[in-house]
């Protein structure tokens, strides 16, 4: 296996983007960093600036205000960078499906690598999603 790729999957720095969510998904993401789940064991860290990020964790329904910002943030991230859609709103707009203000699911705007469903997804589900992402990046089954 590629040495660089292994280092990448062993140290994922996450930038957390809220595209207008109700904050439940965000709280569950922060739960993953608490002593009970402690994802820093696997080298996963939250970072403050998108320039340091390896993964974008995007929550919330894409509305007219946030879509251009999402595109901008994705362009600012240094590649290789993966996009993770967290929560039902980012996946499929959920209860805002017919709202006048939303622009469509996240994968119609950015290339999404992993979908984590749930309203909000449990921390176990988020960790499971990250494990699947790591396996996908490494090309394992």
């Amino acid at each position: 296996m590629n040495f660089k790729l292994k280092a990448l999957t062993k140290s994922i720095w996450v930038f957390h983007v809220s595209a207008g969510s109700c904050n439940n998904c965000d709280i569950e993401i922060l739960d993953c960093l608490t002593p009970r789940f402690d994802v820093e064991r696997f080298g996963i860290q939250l970072v403050g600036s998108v320039r340091h990020a390896d993964a974008l964790l995007i929550t919330g329904a894409m509305n007219k205000k946030s879509v251009p910002l999402m595109k901008k943030i994705y362009e600012q991230a240094p590649k290789p960078c993966v996009v993770v859609a967290v929560g039902q709103c980012a996946l499929s707009q959920h209860m805002f499906k017919d709202s006048y203000n939303v622009e469509g699911p996240l994968d119609s705007i950015l290339p999404v690598d992993v979908y984590i469903p749930g309203c909000p997804p449990r921390p176990e589900a988020i960790i499971d999603g990250i494990v699947k992402l790591v396996k996908k990046v490494r090309g394992e089954k």
Binding site: L8, D38, V47, G48, S49, R51, D54, P78
Partner: protein, 306 residues
Amino acid sequence: MEIVKSIFNYLVFPGLIFSVFAGLMACWIDRKVSARLQWRVGPPWHQSITDIIKLLGKETIFPQGGKFTFLLAPFLGFLSASLVAAILGWSILNPDKSFSSDLIVVLYLLLVPAVAVILGASASRNPLASVGASREMKMVLAYELPFILAVIAMIIKSSGAIQLGKIINHQLFFGSNILSFSGLLAFLSIIFCIQAKLGLVPFDASEAEQEIMGGALIEYSGLGLALFKLTKAVMLYTMPLFVIILFMGRDLSPLFMILKFVGILVIFILIKNTNPRLRIDQAMRFFWRVPTLLSAVAVVLNLKEK
């Protein structure tokens, strides 16, 4: 032959490569002890090394503006920090062979990483980075006075020797500096200053992740960020070494060396984990009152003894 030996000393053993690995281990100790204090498990021992390898493999984005300065700054900080590590390691290994006034060189070189952060942040043309740069500048003004006063106190104590080797030898004959009252005061003061020099929590306003998103480092990615992380790691190895030379130079056998090093590191980590971040004005007020007073008292006490 002499030249080859000094290049080896700078690049491999007490210098660059050794200090990078020692620094990354110190970073791991920092993360692990922090995790245990927060009742977590913490990362494995190779985590800091993995982070650096990953950052080297990532894309480096240059913002509009001074491209050359933007990439020069991290190299400047990293090279000078590793040079300090080389000088300190050399004077521990051969206390009799250190060159004269190397302490002044060390004091200047220790300032360069902070200057590099200011330079890089200003070159990136980011408003948040400029806030970080201005805070870093004020922090340098705040901690440099008590830091140098504490070092001067120790110079006077070692009968005026501005030389690391002579300070070590003096302690070999007259006991560690920290055991005297004035040495203890200077030690307390220098611990606070180093906490600020390393950018650890009560004094990390220039890199506050929560308010200014990484501050000075906000625009750095890939190679530049890796070099800044390495600079931090090397400083985390260098500063406890500096404290050991100045204050606990009595027994420098490898086992005691490692024990003292980890002990001082754990003091920094405990201060970091039990204190909230100070605003920049609070930090400045603190540094110009408490540590400056402690260092000044230490200088006066030493002058009286002589």
